[in-house]
């Protein structure tokens, strides 16, 4: 009996990610079988999922999941497109309030919103800049020339003799940008959100 309780506590700790070393090994071994250990661990995970979100209260059908996994394994690997092709726009429309009939759909909308931010990052920017020491280099690698060790100065487009736009970095503009952000936010919006935005966003190295 005590053994049972101990085993369950061990599994509970395993599900919470609290085990290390030998205890972890032992718990894993116990839960890896087809017996009670495995079922209990599944149950603990389900409990955890439900606590986190009621959407997860329906466990996936294991038969279906394994079929899906097999099918996916047989799919030929396609290389991902290196460039996003389709810009997604978030239009501002007065949302017709959907009475949260479908929270998961709403979550997809959120994801789509984030995706559109990301898509905008990859497309439709004639020029851009990261605002912190390479803070956004990851998203810029493909699009902005990142000078080695550059202090993430604003990237500006300069028209050259043929009217072509050329990207350059100009640290001098940092100072003017910072001055604008610091002293140029007079709007009512700017208190506090704007001040916070500017203070949060302020160019470094000043």
């Amino acid at each position: 009996m005590t053994n049972d309780v101990n085993d369950r506590e061990m599994l509970s700790a395993l599900a919470d990610g609290q085990l290390q070393g030998d205890a972890f090994e032992a718990a894993l071994a116990y839960s890896a079988g087809d017996g009670e250990g495995h079922a209990t661990l599944q149950l603990y995970h389900l409990v955890g999922d439900v606590l986190r979100s009621s959407d997860l209260a329906r466990p996936a059908n294991p038969a279906f999941m394994s079929r899906l996994r097999d099918q996916l394994a047989q799919e030929p690997l396609r290389s991902l497109p290196t460039q996003l092709q389709i810009p997604i726009h978030t239009e501002v429309v007065a949302p017709v309030r959907q009475e949260a009939a479908n929270a998961s759909v709403f979550r997809w909308k959120m994801v789509a919103g984030v995706a559109s931010l990301a898509a905008v990052a990859a497309i439709g920017w004639t020029s851009l800049s990261s605002l912190q020491d390479g803070g956004a280099v990851g998203s810029q690698m493909a699009i902005a020339p990142v000078g080695a060790g550059s202090q993430a100065a604003p990237v500006v487009a300069v028209a050259d003799a043929d009217g072509q736009q050329v990207m350059i970095r100009d640290p001098r503009l940092d100072e003017l940008l910072a001055a604008h952000k610091q002293f140029g936010s007079t709007s009512a919006l700017q208190m506090p959100a704007g001040f916070l935005r500017n203070a949060t966003f302020e160019t470094p190295g000043r």
């Binding site: 726009h89 978030t90 239009e91 501002v92 007065a94 949302p95 309030r97 559109s116 931010l117 990301a118 905008v120 990052a121 920017w125 851009l128 800049s129 990261s130 605002l131 912190q132 020491d133 803070g135 956004a136 990851g138 998203s139 810029q140 604003p154 990237v155 500006v156 487009a157 300069v158 050259d160 100009d170 503009l173 003017l176 940008l177 910072a178 001055a179 604008h180 952000k181 610091q182 002293f183 140029g184 936010s185 007079t186 709007s187 009512a188 919006l189 700017q190 208190m191 506090p192 959100a193 704007g194 001040f195 916070l196 935005r197 203070a199 949060t200 966003f201 302020e202 470094p204 000043r206």
Partner: protein, 316 residues
């Protein structure tokens, strides 16, 4: 001053732009708060900071500690700003000569926000654990961006703010990811920290108040809705002998534009115009005369900056 029980009324109050702004502006002093604030630009750049805010009868105080980029802590006491840079052991002391003066509502005089924006309530959403009114400030023309604001229902505090391009795209988003509207933050605590400058070198850039006219500049035609706010000569660089730059500020009450005017210097300035866009902030730099270089910066569309620069001329 909206009563706190406004939130208990389930009917949506119809407010115009000015009423929304007044409500949002008086919000910060209703409760001391602390939170984490995240700014995300459309190009993927992201910054975050930790915020503490408190008011008493006379003072509004804010502490903003950067969590990304260069470590720095910015304190604001009414219009006084100090930026602590612990790595360089420097404190920059500045005055914001703007509308943050507590408790006056900071509407730029001479602007008419209602003329250039309309407000529309879009519904309610939860942000950072709070129920908020989602409000859309729609610009009437293409010279300014639109805004979507999430205003906490009980206090009116802005907990999320999106700047929207002409096509409705989100250019920049700033929001509390986590917020405590009952934090034990007190003005005197923050004040003590702000004054703890021992061991730091205090740098106070020289600023001279002036006017565009006194500097010999004028706008041929005002740009719709934007009124002159102030002009200063300041040194924007931390270098010892940096030349001062003239900064003139214009605002329509929500958006603001800075015009920086300096003598053209072939060593520092390119010969061709420069344009740049970062999130909501656009930048345009070019000659206005063979010997004068102007840089326009603002949270407005690029065409608005072009208008500004095009209207700038020597005063007779």
């Amino acid at each position: 001053m909206p009563p706190a029980d406004a939130a208990l009324v389930s009917v949506d109050v119809v407010r115009d732009v000015a009423q929304w702004i007044e409500r949002m502006h008086s919000a910060p002093c209703l409760r001391p708060y602390a939170g984490t604030f995240v700014v995300l630009a459309a190009n993927g750049a992201m910054s975050s900071s930790r915020i503490w805010h408190a008011c008493d009868g006379q003072q509004q105080m804010e502490r903003v500690e950067s969590l990304s980029g260069t470590p720095r802590t910015i304190f604001r006491r009414n219009d006084e700003v100090r930026t602590f840079l612990p790595q360089a052991r420097i404190v920059r002391a500045d005055r914001r000569e703007d509308a943050g003066l507590f408790p006056r509502v900071p509407v730029v005089s001479g602007t008419s926000i209602a003329q250039f924006y309309t407000a529309r309530l879009l519904g309610q959403e939860r942000v950072a654990g709070f129920v908020t009114d989602v409000v859309w400030f729609k610009p009437v023309d293409s010279l300014r961006f639109g805004y979507r604001l999430w205003s906490e229902r009980e206090t009116g505090l802005i907990v999320k703010l999106q700047t929207l391009g002409a096509d409705g795209r989100v250019l920049e988003q700033a929001a509390f990811s986590e917020l405590d509207l009952n934090a034990s933050v007190r003005v005197e605590q923050l004040s003590r920290m702000m004054d703890a400058t021992v061991g730091y070198k205090i740098v106070a850039p020289v600023v001279v108040k002036t006017s565009a006219h006194a500097e010999g500049w004028t706008l041929r035609q005002p740009v719709a809705g934007f009124v002159p706010v102030s002009c200063h000569r300041r040194s924007v660089s931390d270098a010892e002998d940096a030349p001062s730059v003239l900064q003139c500020l214009y605002s329509d009450g929500l958006a603001s534009v800075s015009l920086f005017v300096e003598p053209f210097d072939a060593k520092r300035h390119p010969s061709k115009p420069q344009v740049s866009g970062m999130g909501a902030t656009q930048l345009l730099a070019q000659h206005v005369q063979p010997d004068v270089w102007v840089t326009a910066v603002g949270e407005v569309p690029l065409q608005t900056l072009r208008l500004f620069v095009g209207q700038l001329e020597r005063a007779r």
